[in-house]
């Protein structure tokens, strides 16, 4: 029968298309998805992106195959007089099949995403002042203070020294404590797979564990005013010994000004009049 012929061909084309695209997604595109696997958060995101692509592929292929097939096969010939198609008002089995398939896919995605989020301690995303899950063992706290229009960093376990450079030891669990002194900013360390909004008066925690040394870019990802486009710097992930040397240098360099800084706290109340001098 004609109708079964169309349905069969669309099904076959969908299966063939999926069979071609899926290996490309799993083996070529997936592993190369951003933001890269230089940290545990980055790896978790790459894994997540790959799974999302795999789930999407059959639906995408089906819809595109269907539209192209319908447009080419059911197209009225030009010059043909206006005739109606059959008065089909619906088809309950295919409606149920569609509803069931999409529901299963959506529930899978939501459960998978939640499990991945909890398992990876927030996947590098800002998780509020008291995150639901925390990595085991001790984490190196690094405070990110955003203000118009630069980031500065404080290391509370090293005497609360504040510097304009972000240097992290490789292989250590890091806990970023992101806060702001004025407008809302967003601390985005792209290659680390970290993004956390900086809100005044809020301590927004994000966990990450760098696996490789190298540089990474830091950008503000929330519109914060005039020089938002210039609010970026470059951070470094270095090995433990280099980090120890660097932090010692910073403490030495900043000791003279340290006494003018407020004591380390989870957030700071801005005092614009005092800052204006």
């Amino acid at each position: 029968m004609n109708l079964r012929g169309h349905a069969g061909r669309i099904a076959a084309l969908t299966v063939i298309g999926t069979a071609i695209v899926l290996p490309l997604v799993i083996f070529v595109l997936g592993p190369n998805m951003p933001p890269g696997k230089r940290t545990n958060a980055g790896s978790s995101q790459v894994h997540d992106n790959t799974v999302l692509l795999v789930v999407m592929t059959p639906f995408t292929v089906f819809i595109l195959v269907y539209i192209l097939y319908a447009v080419f096969t059911f197209r009225a010939r030009s010059g043909e007089e206006l005739r109606d198609g059959p008065a089909i008002h619906g088809h309950v089995p295919s409606q149920i099949a569609w509803l069931a398939t999409t529901t299963i896919a959506v529930l899978f995605l939501a459960i998978f995403g939640s499990a991945e989020l909890l398992a990876s301690n927030g996947s590098g995303g800002g998780s509020g002042p008291s995150p639901l899950t925390k990595p085991g063992g001790s984490a190196l706290p690094v405070q990110v203070i955003a203000q118009q229009w630069e980031f500065t960093y404080r290391y509370p376990t090293y005497g609360g020294v504040e510097t304009a450079q972000l240097v992290l030891p490789v292989g250590r669990q890091i806990a970023f404590h992101v806060t702001s002194l004025d407008a809302i900013h967003s601390f985005w360390a792209y290659e680390l797979g970290v993004k956390a909004d900086a809100n005044p008066g809020v301590d927004n925690v994000a966990f990450v564990k760098p696996k490789k040394t190298g540089t990474f870019q830091v950008r503000c990802a929330e519109l914060c005013g005039l020089w938002h486009g210039y609010m970026f710097d470059t951070g470094r992930v270095v090995d433990g010994a280099q980090f120890a040397t660097w932090i010692a240098q910073q403490r030495q360099a900043f000791t003279p000004v340290q006494k003018y800084l407020p004591k380390y706290a989870s957030s700071y109340s801005p005092d614009p009049e005092a800052r204006a001098g």
Partner: protein
Amino acid sequence: MKLRKLIGFNLLTAVILGVVGFYVGWWLGHLFKAESLDYFEDTGQNDIALFIAYLVGVIGFLVGLGFANYPVQRLLGKPASLREKEDQGAARYFGLCTDHKVVGMQYLIGIGAFIFIGGLNAMLIRFELITPNQHAWNGNNYLTLVGLHGTMMMGMMSSGIIGPFANYLLPVMIGARRMAFPRVEALTFWLLMAAGVILMTAIGFGGFPTGWTGYAPLNVQANMGMDAYIAFFALVGLSMTLLGLNMIATVITMRAPGMTWGRLPIFVWGMFTTSILMLLAAPVLISVLLMVAMDRTAQTGFFNDAAGGSPYLYENLFWIFGHPEVYVLALPGMGILLEIIPVFSRKPLWGYKLAVSGMLGIMLLSFLVWQHHLFVSGINADLRPFYMLSTELISLPTGFIFVAALGTLWLGRIRLAVPMLFSLAWLFNFLIGGLSGVFLSDVPSDVTTHGSFFSMAHFHYTIMGGLLFAFFAAIYFWVPKMTGYRLNERWGKVHFWTMFLAFNSTFGPLLVIGFLGMPRRAVTYAGYLQGANTWVSVSAFVLGASMLIFLANFVYSLAFARVPAGANPWGSKSIEWQLPSPIPLHNFDRIPTFAGDPYPYGVDAGTSQRPMVAPARPTP
């Protein structure tokens, strides 16, 4: 003799009274004195004066149009006319008119003009982004362009389909002669025009740096251009609320005999669900903007952390409005799509109930997802799995819309006329938009894509690829009905292919650029993204040029070629096509009676399946 015609309640009087009102309000505002307001004198920034100036200006504008006549006459106990300017030739388009078809045409031209301005802003933004370093605009001007583009498009496109097409066609489709509240209907349009002009004045007050979201506390520290943003969005919110209310009342109370809920054309369902979103969401926007205005003038501290407020409050309230708002933008497109595909497939709408439940499902779920805009903000982090689930659940009712469209194509006799091309493009674009939305709804993936060009490209795929393509589908489909003249089909196809290819060539790469680490609204970007950005800018200019093709075709076809469209150029069986083009004043001689399916394709004409339409009065 001709000059005397200009005197009266019309657009000219309205503009004069609006400008006078603005300066009167400006003067009044400067009378406020208080110690805490001394900085107004020091900085030359008087937000109170500007707000009052906008308020008095808008009141003057509306009085000049004649909106005060009816209430004043009733107060004085005089008889007042219920209908205004309904039969006055071209002059009725330049004033308060209570004919729903005139308001529809006013909306089409008025909103079209502001969308064009919004598009020009986008061109200027892409001009800056050709190179990684700042070269064209200074920082403040760049941010103002970004803000004007986003705010203008969001504000105007909210009514972009419901304004022109629902006002014109919805009463006809349900067998009514007018909207429930014709004077309110006219008010929604003129409020929107006043709002558009006010937003443009932001340029004269130093612009505003916040983009269309206007986050606190940046919006409190911003200069006076911010007041224009607040006044604009508050007026748009008011217009949306009234428009939604009017549509809901019309659909509920004005349906002709036999027009049951199960026989409503799907376009009417789209407008009805959109209207409910407008009515429930827009008041939240007005409230939050009033709070910002209080923070900026009366020194309250709703959003000031140091004064006991919280910037989270603004983010929450804004997105409680903002997420339903994006479905205010998406649902009309779905209504248009499902209205047009049956006509050009010559099939009944497949799965009518499924499509309606899809629209209702989107409407309900859209109120439950707003915190997915705050996934990395640190607020309610433990609730992220819930918002991930509710966000992904929206893809189920959206899937209903898709499957209804696909089912209608099945075994159809598809004609690829321009409206159909735009509808099929809607399917493709919205598919990409939906798939990119899955990445944003998934929290681990959102950590990278949040606030990047990826999310920007995502909503351009859904809003421009969805709403604007549906808007053009509707123009090519219904403008022959609204004006009586055909739009040139060949140039329509040139417009379509240029726009479709340039659109995908612009926003496809932007998805990748966002994934590669480019944040939104930044005037500079990393050097390794230059090649892709230059490509995108060139594509964007071609996209802009495609709008000029449309404009030329529109003006040429309607003003010069003037090929009569006839009553039913597409062979549609819907009721609006059984009336003459353009539809005569008061639509029907007798109110029609409806029986059966709104899409009676594939059944014999003359059976009871056909909508029973009383013969309309011939075109005068």
